[in-house]
C-alpha cells in the first residue's frame, strides 16, 4: 500500500510539472491579438483597492470597478474593437492570473520591475507618480521624509513596488507587508506601523478622505523606468503589447490621463458621500448570499463525496481503499488556501473555471476529506452485531449499509457533522483571495470605499456569528428529533 501511495504522489507531481511546462510552451507563435479579437473580449485583471487607479463603486445597485486604469483599459479595448471584461484578484495573484491565462492583461498601477519582467512582458509606461508616505496626523511633525523612519515599522502592499522600495531605500526600517491598502491603513491607525508607503494619488486619496491621516513626501529621486506604471501581458504577447502601446501613445498625445483622473475623482466623492454602514447594506447582503451559496453547495457535495470516500476507505477493494486514504491524507495535510489557488490557477491551465466555481470545487473537495473521516468514525461506532443481524436477514452489503448502518451512523455523528458545516461557513471565506465576492471580500470592498477600517470588520463579524449561531440552532433541532432513546 505504501508503494501505491508513492506512486500516486509521483503521478500528482508529474501532472503539475506537465502543466507548468505546458504553460511555458504555449506561446511559441504569437497570436495573442488575433485570439483577443476572435473571442471578442479583452480581460483585464486588477486589484480594486487602489483608488484612484482602481476601486469599486456601487452603480445602480451593482459593484463596478472604476478608476484611471479602467479608463485606460476601456480605450485599449475600444481601439482593438472588443469588449472589456474586468476580473478582480488580489494584487499578489495578478501575475499568476496572467501566466495561467485567466486574464489577457494586468492593469493595477503595476511598475515594470526587472523581477517582474522575467515572467511577464510590459507595455510602455503610461503614468509616473512620486512615492509618498501616509502617517497619522498626530505624528506629522515627527516624520519629514523616508529618512525619519529609522528603527520604525513601515507598511507596504505585498509584492508591490513600494515594498521593494522600502527594502532598498529604508534599510533601517522594518517592513510590514499586507495585501490590501485598507488593511495597511488600519495597521497605521492602530500603530502597528508608523507609515504606509503609497503612490501619490493613492496616498492623497486616503489623506483627503480621512482627517486623522497626513502626508509625508518620501524624498526619493526615482528613475521613471523603475517608478512608472505599465500594463502587464503574458510573455511573448507582442502583437497585444503593440496594440496597447499604440493606445498609450494616443493617451499621452491627447493628455487623456488628466480627464481620466477627473472621472475617477468624481467616483471617489460619490463613494465617500455617505460612509455609514447602513448605506452599504447591499454589499454585506450580497456577501452573505455568496457565503451561504458556497457553503450550501459545498455541504451537499462534501457530504456525497465524503460518504463515498468513507465507504471506499472501509471497503474491501484495496485499490479504492488506497485511493481514499491517499486523498483524505493529502487534502487534510494541505491548507485550504493552497487548494483554492491550485484549483483556480492550477486546473485553470487546462480548463477555464470561473472563480466562484473554482472556489466551490475547492471547498467541496476539502470538506469531503473531513466529512469522510467523520462518517468513517460514525460507521465504526456501530456494533458489528447490527451488520450481522442485517446480513442474517438476507440484506445485501449495500442494503445493510444504507438501511441499517448509515442511518444510525448519521445520528451518532450529527454533532460532528454540524461542526464541520459551521466551520465551513467560516472557512469558505478563503475564496475571497481569488475574487469570489463573499462576505470577507465585501468587507474589504466596503473598507476601500468608505476609508473606514474597523466598522466593516465589526459588521462582518456580527453577520458571521448570526449565520453560524442560526445554523447551530437548526442542527440542534434535528439532533433532538433523531433521539429515540
Amino acid at each position: 500500500m505504501k508503494k501505491l501511495m508513492r506512486w500516486f504522489m509521483a503521478l500528482a507531481l508529474s501532472l503539475v510539472a506537465i502543466g507548468a511546462v505546458g504553460a511555458q510552451s504555449v506561446h511559441a507563435a504569437d497570436d495573442s491579438l488575433a485570439k483577443v479579437k476572435a473571442k471578442g473580449t479583452l480581460v483585464m485583471g486588477t486589484s480594486p483597492d487602489y483608488a484612484p487607479y482602481e476601486f469599486l463603486v456601487n452603480k445602480n445597485g451593482k459593484n463596478q470597478v472604476v478608476g484611471i486604469d479602467v479608463e485606460i483599459a476601456k480605450k485599449i479595448a475600444a481601439d482593438i474593437g472588443v469588449k472589456l471584461v474586468i476580473k478582480q484578484m488580489d494584487f499578489d495573484s495578478l501575475l499568476v492570473g496572467l501566466e495561467t491565462h485567466k486574464v489577457d492583461m494586468v492593469l493595477s498601477a503595476m511598475t515594470p520591475t526587472a523581477e517582474r519582467k522575467q515572467s511577464v512582458d510590459f507595455s510602455q509606461i503610461y503614468y509616473t507618480a512620486s512615492q509618498d508616505i501616509i502617517v497619522n496626523k498626530a505624528d506629522a511633525k515627527v516624520y519629514h521624509n523616508a529618512e525619519s523612519f529609522v528603527d520604525k515599522k513601515v507598511g507596504a502592499q505585498t509584492g508591490s513596488l513600494q515594498a521593494d522600495l522600502v527594502k532598498k531605500n529604508m534599510t533601517d526600517s522594518k517592513l510590514l507587508g499586507l495585501s490590501k491598502v485598507t488593511d495597511l491603513i488600519l495597521a497605521l491607525k492602530s500603530h502597528k506601523v508608523e507609515g504606509v508607503v503609497a503612490e501619490e494619488p493613492v496616498a492623497k486619496a486616503y489623506v483627503d478622505n480621512d482627517p486623522q491621516l497626513a502626508l509625508v513626501k518620501s524624498g526619493w529621486a526615482l528613475d521613471p523606468e523603475e517608478n512608472g506604471q505599465a500594463i502587464g501581458f503574458t510573455k511573448g504577447a507582442d502583437s497585444l503589447v503593440a496594440a496597447a502601446n499604440q493606445s498609450i501613445g494616443e493617451i499621452k498625445q491627447q493628455h487623456l490621463i488628466a480627464s481620466y483622473t477627473k472621472t475617477a475623482g468624481k467616483y471617489m466623492t460619490q463613494n465617500t458621500a455617505n460612509t455609514s454602514m447602513w448605506h452599504y447594506w447591499q454589499y454585506f447582503a450580497k456577501g452573505v448570499g455568496y457565503t451561504l451559496l458556497i457553503t450550501a453547495i459545498s455541504v451537499v457535495f462534501g457530504l456525497v463525496l465524503g460518504t463515498l470516500f468513507a465507504l471506499m476507505r472501509l471497503g474491501h477493494n484495496r485499490l479504492f481503499h488506497s485511493l481514499a486514504v491517499a486523498y483524505i491524507e493529502f487534502v487534510r495535510g494541505t491548507p485550504l488556501m493552497i487548494q483554492v489557488m491550485f484549483v483556480y490557477f492550477g486546473l485553470g491551465l487546462f480548463l477555464d473555471i470561473p472563480a466562484l466555481t473554482a472556489g466551490v470545487i475547492a471547498v467541496s473537495l476539502n470538506s469531503a476529506a473531513y466529512v469522510a473521516e467523520i462518517i468513517r468514525s460514525g460507521i465504526d461506532s456501530i456494533p458489528v452485531g447490527q451488520t450481522e443481524a442485517a446480513r442474517s436477514l438476507g440484506l445485501s452489503t449495500r442494503q445493510t449499509m444504507t438501511s441499517v448502518i448509515l442511518p444510525q451512523a448519521v445520528k451518532n455523528i450529527w454533532p460532528a457533522l454540524g461542526n464541520e458545516f459551521i466551520s465551513l461557513i467560516k472557512e469558505s471565506s478563503i475564496v475571497s483571495i481569488i475574487g469570489v465576492t463573499d462576505l470577507i471580500y465585501q468587507l474589504k470592498v466596503v473598507q476601500t470605499a468608505t476609508y473606514k477600517g474597523v466598522a466593516p470588520i465589526f459588521v462582518a463579524m456580527v453577520l458571521y456569528f448570526v449565520l453560524t449561531f442560526s445554523l447551530s440552532k437548526v442542527l440542534g433541532h434535528f439532533e433532538r428529533k433523531m433521539q429515540h432513546d
Partner: protein, 247 residues
Amino acid sequence: MTKPLIQINHLVKKFGDNVVLNDISETINQGDVIVVIGASGGGKSTFLRSLNLLNVPTSGEIEFEGTNLVGLSEKALDGVREKMGMVFQQFNLFPNMTVLANIKLAPMKVKNNDDAAATAKAKELLAQVGLEDKADAYPASLSGGQMQRVAIARALAMEPDVMLFDEPTSALDPEMVGEVLKVMQDLAKSGMTMVIVTHEMGFAREAADQVWFMDQGVIAEKGTPEQIFTAPKEARTKDFLSKVLAQ
C-alpha cells in the same frame, strides 16, 4: 420422512493457529430441534455461525438444501441467509427503528413485499410472541425479554426454513428467560427446524430432539436428551453435566 436440511462435511475453522472447529461432519434433518451444549470456548457459537457463513469456514462444506454454501459469492449467500433465521445473544435489534419497522425491513427490502402485506405479517408475528401492543415502540423502551421476542419475530418474518439461536437467553435477567423459552418451545412444536446453542439444560431436556455436546472443537457426544442427561457415555460429558447441573 426425514430428509437432510443441512449437511456438514469435515467442517474446520481456525483462528490463526487456534483450531476452533476440528473436522465436524453432522446432519440436521427437516424438523429437527437440536440443542448444542458445552463449556464456554468449546466452539458452540462458532459452529452455529458457520452454518449461515457469518463465520467463513477454513475448510469443509456446509450443504444447505443441496447447495454447498462454502465458496458462494456474497450475493448468492444473501439469498441463502434469508432462509436461515438467526437470533443473537445481544438481540441486535435496529435501535433507530420501531418494533414494527424492525420486523418489516427485510420482507420489504429483500422480498419486495408491499407495506400493507409486510405490516399485516409483522402484526401477526407480534401477536404470536405476545407483543402486539409494542408495534410502535422503539427497542430502547423494551425489556430484554421483549427485545429477544421481537428479534425472534423479525427472523420469522422472512419465513425461514431453519432458525439458529445463539445463546438467546444468556443476556437476559433470570425472570425474563421463561418468556423467551416459551416462544421457542411453541416454535419447536410447530415443526420448525431449530439449532440452539444454550446453557438452559431444562429447555434442552424438554424441547430438544437431539442434544449435541461440544468440546474442544468436536461434537464429543450426541443423543436424545434422555440419553445425554441420564446416561452420558463420555467422561467429559459427565464432567460437564455434573458441573452445570450442580448449580
